[in-house]
């Protein structure tokens, strides 16, 4: 959309769609303030965003390209901009986008497909495709086919890119792959079509019915459409060919299938790339404490209805040279075989104390300022139980003091049993869903959203207060407050309180680090022997978390950096739990098929400097090493209360039954809630509770995410 269309007056302009910004936006919109929410990227979430496999490659490319932008560079003050100024107004240029991640590397650890395999893969896809095609033609009459044209949020930038990244990938692997490059490219296109068919007819039928209305982007997918039709023809011709040939093919296929059963599946680059759209890879993967502030906020504000969650199903720990499941709940302790009877009692007794430690101060007061580790020894816990409590429940380092650790333990314990057997939730489709959910609430209450748009300048009035911004399109927009993620603001506004960096690794693996009959969503707090005070958080997400296709896992590793090489930082845990070799050689370790490493500056603790205008508020950025997101709630609340000290922070939206209908003039005032109600009804009564068990397939959900994007964007027009 063109930003020229924007109204010129708002209460608050928010820059960046990270989680804190979107929570704040929702809170402001909820009480009726006029919000303009901009993001320089073409996707939501900022540092909290997630990408599919191609998207993350282009994110990597973008960050590498931005590396050459100097830290201090800001927008120039052109004459055009000066023209927008009124008397006695001054102008402050904003920072240009810098790279948010550095030292990024990524690579596949699987072999390329052979020509035979390639042909095989193509064939099965064609079969699937025709099947879906017939399915589709049966239902094209459905009314949903005429719905909004597709506007992709998280995938939008990915459309043009596959060729790009594929080409890069292939060019390194010699002449034999030249042919393959084409295949892979076509495959991914075809796959995206079938993908869309699978997920929703709305998406692929849109170009046909509304192709005139669609802009440049749709032209490329229109190309895909044509290609698809051609492929379809070819297939029809094939189908007409003699039956004998078919039989031969069948036999060949069967024998191949038989081989597959016998051998452990050996993944190829093509296998992974074929499913590129099925990945949702978080830049900042986080869990939510089941009784944490964010979950409470999601419920209280009803934003929970826009998300679905899975419970983290097990907490692992590395003990006595192997991975073990931590008994964290009462039921776990009962059935755990790795703790003795006496340990069961000791552990339960300690946890019962910790769950309500404030009420028995005599037990810990004298040791408050001593390391938790020593406190546990003093409590006569056995080494096993000490390990579980310190590293898997409290998740603290050896240096952490008792009072801090007890607080963390208590938080953990109070989160148990609310939704599942562990203390954590994970948003399906990734953490990147959360900013979108809050944006949606904001949009429902009238917030206006604009992607690929930002502010180049802040305008200050004579009293040195911010009175507006200039957008990247050169439009002047006046406002009372600017709330901006730190990277948008002039560097003089932002006080960096931490020189900390975090090292991240993302793996796609072929099996779980600890195989189990069930699909497990695992958390491992790994104490690295090279530096016990910088533990590694390992999150292993299965297909059921809707972040990857079947039979593979997405694993996130996060650790405070000790050097400038993320690979070096995470080498120990990688070598302990994973392998890049093929199965038969390396026991039963989980094999890495694709990996990416990068580092981020920890911008989660930044504050405002004194030189900042009083009504320009700094929002901390990403890069926190913590496991959860509860700090975002207090940050957002702080900003909200600075602007509106006497208002409720995201109160519960009115119950549809309690809403009394009013006439038109009043309705104009009540626009927010009534509109909300419309949407709310459609969404049903999904609350935070129980959602995690919903078993929607990946494709459906992706569709949801996109529809969601539509609505929020639709609102801005």
């Amino acid at each position: 959309m063109a930003t020229e269309d924007l109204p010129s007056e708002f209460d608050i302009v928010i820059l960046g769609t990270g989680l804190i910004e979107t929570i704040t936006a929702a809170a402001f919109s909820r009480i009726g303030l006029k919000i303009l929410h901009l993001d320089r990227n073409d996707y939501y979430g900022g540092a909290y965003s997630n990408f599919n496999l191609d998207g993350i490659e282009s994110w990597k490319q973008k960050n590498q390209d931005l590396q050459c932008v100097p830290d201090e560079e800001s927008f120039a003050v052109s004459d055009d901009v000066k023209k927008l100024l009124q008397d006695q107004e001054t102008i402050i240029p904003m920072s240009k986008e810098r790279s948010s991640a550095f030292n990024i590397t990524s690579q596949f650890h699987a072999r390329q497909r052979t020509t035979i395999e390639e042909a095989e893969a193509k064939k099965t896809k064609c079969n699937l495709f025709t099947f879906l095609k017939t399915e589709a033609s049966n239902t094209t009459a459905s009314p949903s086919a005429t719905a909004n044209p597709v506007v992709k949020i998280s995938d939008g930038q990915g459309d043009g890119d596959p060729q790009d990244s594929d080409a890069k990938q292939q060019s390194t692997s010699g002449s034999e792959t030249q042919e393959q490059t084409v295949h892979v490219k076509q495959d991914s296109d075809v796959n995206s079509c079938t993908e869309q068919l699978q997920s929703s007819l709305v998406l692929t039928d849109a170009p046909q019915t509304a192709s005139q209305d669609v802009g440049e982007k749709e032209n490329t997918s229109g190309g895909g459409e044509r290609e698809r039709e051609e492929r379809d023809d070819i297939h029809k011709r094939k189908a007409e060919s003699s039956e004998e040939e078919n039989n031969e093919q069948k036999q060949a296929q069967q024998s191949l299938e038989r081989e597959k059963i016998i051998q452990v599946k050996e993944w190829t680059v093509g296998d992974i790339k074929d499913d590129w759209r099925k990945y949702c890879i978080d830049i900042s993967p986080k869990f939510l404490y089941c009784s944490g502030d964010l979950v409470e906020l999601l419920i209280q504000s009803d934003v929970a209805r826009y998300c679905e969650f899975r419970t983290v199903s097990r907490v692992l720990t590395f003990l006595q040279g192997k991975l073990q499941q931590v008994p964290c709940s009462r039921a776990d302790v009962f059935s755990s075989k790795i703790v003795s009877l006496v340990e069961k009692r000791l552990m339960m007794k300690f946890l019962q104390f910790a769950a309500d430690y404030e009420s028995s101060p005599q037990e810990y007061k004298d040791y408050e300022d001593q390391p938790f580790k020593d406190f546990l020894i003093l409590k006569k816990l056995t080494p096993n139980v000490q390990h579980f409590v310190q590293h898997a429940i409290a998740m603290v380092t050896d240096k952490e003091l008792t009072n801090v650790a007890l607080k963390k333990t208590k938080k953990y314990l109070h989160s148990l049993g609310r939704y599942g057997n562990t203390a954590f939730l994970f948003p399906i489709y990734g953490t990147g869903e959360l900013p979108q959910a809050f944006s949606r609430l904001s949009a429902v209450f009238g917030g206006i959203y604009c992607l690929t748009a930002s502010a180049t300048h802040i305008i200050a009035d004579s009293s040195n207060k911010c009175c507006g911004i200039v957008t990247t399109n050169g439009q002047r927009i006046s406002c009372r407050y600017v709330v901006a993620e730190e990277s948008y603001l002039p560097s003089s506004y932002v006080q960096k309180n931490s020189a900390r960096k975090i090292s991240r690794a993302i793996f796609i693996t072929d099996s779980s680090i600890l195989s189990s009959e069930n699909s497990e969503l695992s958390l491992l707090h790994y104490v690295s022997q090279d530096d016990r005070n910088r533990p590694v958080t390992v999150m292993e997400l299965p297909n059921s978390a809707c972040v990857c296709p079947k039979d593979v896992f997405v694993v996130h590793l996060t650790r405070e950096s000790g050097c400038d090489d993320p690979v070096e930082d995470l080498k120990e845990v990688r070598d302990k739990l994973f392998t890049t070799e093929n199965k038969d050689e390396a026991e039963a370790k989980s094999k890495i098929l694709w990996s990416m490493y990068f580092q981020q500056n920890d911008a989660s603790t930044v504050t405002q400097t004194v030189s900042a205008l009083p009504n320009v508020l700094v929002v901390p950025g990403g890069g926190s090493a913590g496991i959860d997101l509860d700090f975002t709630v207090s940050e957002a609340k702080k900003i909200f209360l600075t602007v509106c000290p006497d208002e409720d922070f995201l109160p519960k939206p009115p119950n549809p039954e309690d809403i009394i209908h009013v006439d038109d003039t009043e309705a104009a005032v009540e626009r927010g809630p009534s509109e909300f109600q419309d949407k709310g009804d459609g969404d049903g009564s999904d609350k935070g509770e129980g959602n995690e068990e919903k078993n929607e397939c990946l494709d459906n959900g992706k569709d949801n995410a996109e529809v969601k994007g539509n609505k929020t964007d639709g609102n801005s027009t």
């Binding site: 039921a331 009962f334 009877l341 006496v342 069961k344 339960m348």
Partner: protein, 576 residues
Amino acid sequence: MHGRLKVKSTAEQLEAKRKEREKKLQLYNGAKSKIFEKKINGELDEELLLLSGEVLAVNPDFYTLWNYRKETFLELKKIKSKEELQKIFQSELHFLETCLKINPKSYGSWHQRCFVMDNMPEPDWSRELELCNQFLQYDERNFHCWDYRRFIVKRANVSLEAEFEFSMSKISNNFSNYSSWHYRSKLLPILFPDPTQPMGVDEKALLKEYELVQNGFFTDPDDQSNWFYHRWLMGRGKLKPDWQKQALHCFSVSRTDRCVILSLVKHIQVGKSTDIILECNNSILKGVTWQNQEKSTRFSTLWISFHSNNVTLPENGDLFIKVKILQGGEEICFSSMSLKENEVNYSAPSLSTGGVSRFSQELSVVKTETLQHELEAVSQLLEMETDNKWAVLTLVLLMKALDPVLYHAEIMNNLDKLAVLDTKRINYYKDLKSKFIVENMIDALNDSLSTSIDLSQRDLTKFYHYELLPLVISLDLSYNRLNNVQNFNYLQSIIVLNLNSNNLKSLEGLQYLPKLERLLVRNNGLSSPESLRALQTCPNLKFLDLSGNPVCENEVSHESIREQLQDVDIVFKETS
């Protein structure tokens, strides 16, 4: 469903609800009367199903309507084809699911489901089992659902091993699930039977269960389901009294009293279908009548023979006495003894215990090893949880089973501790303590039951095991806390009974003690002449010490008591 709070509604909502309810009530009553009308007219048709369905959808607990539905289905069964029936029954199952959502504990709905499944042409049992699983996920202790599950398992021949596994999975999820433990206790004796004992469980399987339940009470020692199951496990192997050999506690013959006394393990009622046959020197004694200790023929374990004048036991010569108890023509008990020329009385305690405590079988006859192991585990737990009442009680029971004499002092201490820890059940622990004291005393008698017993100053709140003591001659229970003498008339041979300094308010229970001569009830709470009425039926009472009772303070009642007990020497006031 357990421990959930209900939310009160506001006044406005209440008013709206009331109006709605009134409207509903009208419709409801309309439908109801129409149903009854149809039933009277014998119109058991699909319209009845429809109407009753509407009422039941609102109130699934209307049992009469479920019965009408059953009758209707049986009618339809006669006229409809198999396919049609299958459909009708399927929709009934569907309907029942909605009813169960309204009230998951409606007897009517669950029973109806059983009925449907039994009458359906092609019941889908696996679906039902799945349904049970789902219901038990919502409420794992819904006993209706567990009952229904057992019904399915039986009908569909579900493997009990799988059910055993299921109970395990439920327990792993939440071990505070007594329903599931109970299910295990039902399955264990079937899956792992012990051939030597009825309802016994194979030792190996038993050990596994012990281990499992230990996990439970070490994890949460305050959870009672674990302890209940543990106690059930400890009781495995409890011997059922063997009627053939050990039906008699005691069998006694007396030439002087010219009577036979039988003390049985189980209650019987002589007359009707049960009879006691007495043989003397191989000829049946006829004209013998049997009465219990209350001189009636109501159910009792104690029976005394009365001989009409011409049928008596020979006063001289060797006697060979045989007794048989017939129930419904079948001999359920048999015992015999010989009385030598010079012997006047002879009594045989049939339950010769050979040194082992008569009472330890109350817990178990499983290997002592197992019990010893359990004792160690519980002691270990107690070291960490000194104040856990379940652990203390279990310890007491284990010690009692293992060696009541060796552990006597510890058992007593622990029972005192329990009385402090668990004040709500203080009387239970005191009674238990009394019981153990009496049992130890009886064990110490070494089978010579015809003797004097001294149980004074033992803090007894209750007296136990009278059934074992029909031959005791003298009993000292002074300085205890007894508050009644119920069932003391089992003590058929008692001559001297000392009940001084107790809390007796009445002597009800001392009726018909044929040999009682001296009764000491000094310092009790007897307050009226009526409380002594029972003594009128004791023919041999010669001395009664009543001093220190409220009744003695009133001179008028002295007269009335003297009148009641004419040949008795009564002490009203303590003489120094």
